[in-house]
Amino acid sequence: MLHALIAILICQVLGESAARVLSLPLPGPVLGMVLMLAALIASPRFAALIRPTAQGILSHLSLLFVPAGVGVVGHFATLGTQTAAILLAVVGSTILAITAGALTFALVAWLTGSRDD
């Protein structure tokens, strides 16, 4: 658990550093995820070491969004007089984007014969 946690944090540190040094438009943790993926591919033993801790963190992933969510409530006023229009744009575009993404995936999977099994 300790070693797995250190490995995860090191990936994040490297990701944060790379994002700044190379001034990439990506956040450090996303680069850290790419690094972690490379390390997992390189060594199945490393994957076995990481697994319990990573699964532990991910089992309550939703919880981690609660503090930011509470912060958002205070800023609801920033929406101002345009609240209804903004909410409509958020809800409408979310529905359309999920639909477009999922249908395109399924269509191209069917066209290219890519099946999930």
Partner: protein, 242 residues
């Protein structure tokens, strides 16, 4: 009552109370979610956020005091993003076989997310700052805020829109995708992660491991794609408005 007031003034200033409150509020939300038969309409994040917002309001606690306790939970977002490499790793054989569907869905989904939000916003007459804040809202929060700042949006408003998009996606995804009769867990997960970043990915992980892995992939790829697609979509809509 002096004792109570003393204890309260001690506890309410330190991180312990608000860390405990955050975990308890989430446990409450999660219990409601389970009691409702894991219905997507009962979103644990939304319940926890609402409960804590009411609590902070009733106790007149400023958000900065609350965040001193909640930051320990908030901090874990970074390591959790790194940990998402694990479901991706587990699905690598699947991912290799789904290269073309993944790329096509990324382009279609990312453009739809930005363009439709801008089109609806513009049609309803929202101002330029709001439009620029709407464009990157499907990307994960740090990416979206960075992009919004570059194209003239407001960081605070973008953070609000990102969270709203995440919660909306987590709530509508299952009924919407059932309505579309899509049974491919890869397509379902990818679209949700792409549109609703980490909050959507958290929801997908609850539903199915394959959906969770493809959601993590969708979130990661759309963080990259949005950096290009959001500014492009905004300039397209601005040209249309002139």
């Amino acid at each position: 009552m002096t004792d109570f007031a003393e204890i309260w003034s001690y506890l309410s200033q330190g991180p312990l109370l608000w860390l405990t409150a955050t975990l308890t509020a989430y446990a409450l939300g999660d219990a409601c979610f389970r009691l409702a038969g894991r219905s997507p309409l009962v979103n644990p994040v939304l319940i926890a956020v609402a409960a804590l917002a009411v609590l902070l309001h009733l106790t007149a606690t400023p958000y900065s005091t609350y965040f001193e306790g909640a930051q320990f939970v908030h901090f874990l977002l970074g390591p959790a993003t790194v940990a998402l490499a694990l479901p991706l790793y587990d699905s690598l054989p699947r991912l290799r076989r789904a290269l073309w569907p993944t790329l096509a869905a990324l382009i279609a989904g990312s453009f739809t997310a930005a363009l439709s939000a801008l089109a609806i916003g513009a049609a309803l007459g929202v101002d330029a700052t709001v439009l620029a804040s709407l464009a990157p809202k499907s990307a994960t929060a740090p990416v979206a805020i960075g992009i919004a700042e570059r194209i003239g949006g407001s960081p605070t408003l973008t953070a609000v829109l990102v969270i709203l998009t995440g919660i909306t996606g987590a709530i509508v995804a299952t009924p919407l995708l059932n309505l579309l009769r899509l049974k491919d867990w890869r397509a379902r997960g990818f679209a949700v992660g792409l549109t609703s970043h980490g909050i959507g990915t958290a929801r997908a992980l609850q539903v199915h491991p394959t959906a969770g892995a493809f959601a993590a992939l969708g979130m990661a790829l759309n963080a990259v794609a949005t950096a290009l697609i959001a500014p492009l979509s905004l300039s397209l809509i601005q040209q249309g408005l002139q």
